[in-house]
Amino acid sequence: VKRLPVGLYAALLLAAVLWTFPGAGAVVLESLQRWQWLPLRLLVVAGESTSPPSAGDGREAELAAARARLFAGAAPPSGLLAGLEPIVCFVTERRRAVMAELPSVVVLDRRASELSGCEPFVTHGDALVGFLDPAAPAGARQTVRLLHDRVSGVRPGRVVAAIEAGVQDDSGHEALRFLVEPASFADAWPLRCDLVEDPYRMAREARARALVRTAAGSVPGFAATAVPAGLVVGTLRLWGYPGEGGRPLAVGYYVEPAVDARALASVAVWRRSALPAAAAPARDLPRVGARAAALPGAPGRWYLCTAGPARAGAAVVAGERFLGLVERAGATDALAVAFGVERRLWSLILVPHDAGAAPIEIAARSGMRSGSRVELALVGAPRPLPRGALFTGAHGASCPAGLWIGDVEGTAAPADRFEVHAPELPRRVEVLVAGEGEAE
């Protein structure tokens, strides 16, 4: 027993506990890690450069114009809801991932008190995405519960919706109504249809990928949140068995939301025109200067010597350009990872070079970085992408939407992969720092 490596076994047991509960002991381990960076700090300070951070590669005017169109995707078509006025809000954070990394709650850049008196529903373009959380404290950032959010003990958001069925009567296509509510965690799609008004007609006439829109009226005995009719909820999906003639025998009806929550970067909140306008929040975060050095032998990983405290998850930028994210941060130094190095999910906004085209909010997973070339894989259905400027979507308080990443060449046909050219690391960079009030 004396010769057993008891210390090693105890250390491995402790590592297993810390692996299971990542928060425990993190402070001690990260402090030790920062002490280990001391030789790197000496190297960075010795190789100090006085060159200023690069700006937008001489494209400031072009980028400013693209940034002005950045959140046009959330703006609804004019006259969508008569008597109501939209307030475009930016998503700062996503929470409560329930199925396949699909977040079900998003945090807006405005406080609940600023949005008091607004209608409960929230839209993106002409699509209904969720409801304002009435329980959000007045001083805190307003949260939005997306349509598929389901929490034990809290009544889920239900809306009356309908598809246009194939049978025609005197008034043309007749709508088939049902309730749309959050599906369970085990279901294939985030929303499911319940209490179908006419199950026989639904079974006979419902087609996969039919557009589902909100409908007027109510379902007796079931409380549904009142929303204006005509908003897009998503597309109908059928679950069942292969049937005759290629038509499936559906035993469950689901809805695939019109807007992918992983890509959502902006939404519109609605208010009565009589309410006073809310002041637009400041979106230019303070910056902390940093000297940067790429770690030799660790491609895409940088050591930053910062002029002030940074936060994990903060954006590393050079002038207008987004470079990467801080992974670990201390009072005067940080470890950062370049965009595209790690296989992670990104919320992105593609602003087409064509000034008439609307920006596209997409979710993509970075797959591989080779030099300055980053390959990204679209999450969700493949789609054609136009040439344009790629910006960050929402990635937390210290990495807001609207940071320029690079240019996308576009794809002619629906594709699930595309490339962006991201810059190499300059010697001097900046780290965005959310204020105390922002980092909630």
Partner: protein, 172 residues
């Protein structure tokens, strides 16, 4: 008398290893970037040295410093890297007595086993968290290369401080 009598450790060895672990693993990364799978894998050499030559009582601290450095170089949790490096070491440690007297072929066998075990274990643990060191290279040629070069690199490492200061003392 025990074959491995414990004596006091030179106190300078601890801070030296604490600060040398990161440059060692960065050097490993430079080699990997330059030569691909046919570089001398210093991480495997370190594990080889830990199994065969390291002072048993020092193993927890040696592993901690290596895990801290590996988390800086590869990203991810320190605990993940501690398990990835530590479990194979703990698994092969009972063979130490035999390895000391064994010919080079047995050491090569240990290096080959480590070359397979480390990436496999890393990939397995990766399923339970976000951090990871990548799948590694499990081609036969790469494993054979590691089997030949890792024992030689480990032999060199045990002659250089700070690892030479943390080696198990053997009975004369």
């Amino acid at each position: 008398m025990s074959a491995y009598p414990h004596g006091s450790i030179n106190l300078l060895a601890w801070p030296l290893w604490f600060f040398m672990a990161l440059p060692l693993l960065l050097l490993d990364g430079v080699g990997r970037a330059a030569l691909g799978p046919f570089h001398v894998d210093l991480t495997l050499a370190l594990c080889h040295w830990l199994v065969r030559d390291a002072r048993t009582r020092a193993l927890p601290v040696l592993l901690l410093c290596a895990s801290l450095a590996r988390a800086t170089v590869l990203g991810g949790e320190v605990a993940y890297h501690a398990l990835t490096l530590g479990l194979p070491v703990a698994g092969f440690l009972p063979l130490r007595g035999a390895l000391l007297r064994a010919p080079f072929a047995a050491q090569a066998l240990l290096a080959g086993a480590l070359a397979v075990a480390l990436p496999r274990l890393g990939a397995f643990l990766q399923r339970f968290g976000e951090s990871g060191a990548g799948p590694g290279d499990l081609r036969v040629a790469a494993v054979l290369w590691a089997a030949v070069t890792v024992p030689l690199a480990a032999r060199l490492m045990r002659r250089l401080p700070p690892l030479s200061l943390l080696e198990e003392r053997r009975a004369p």
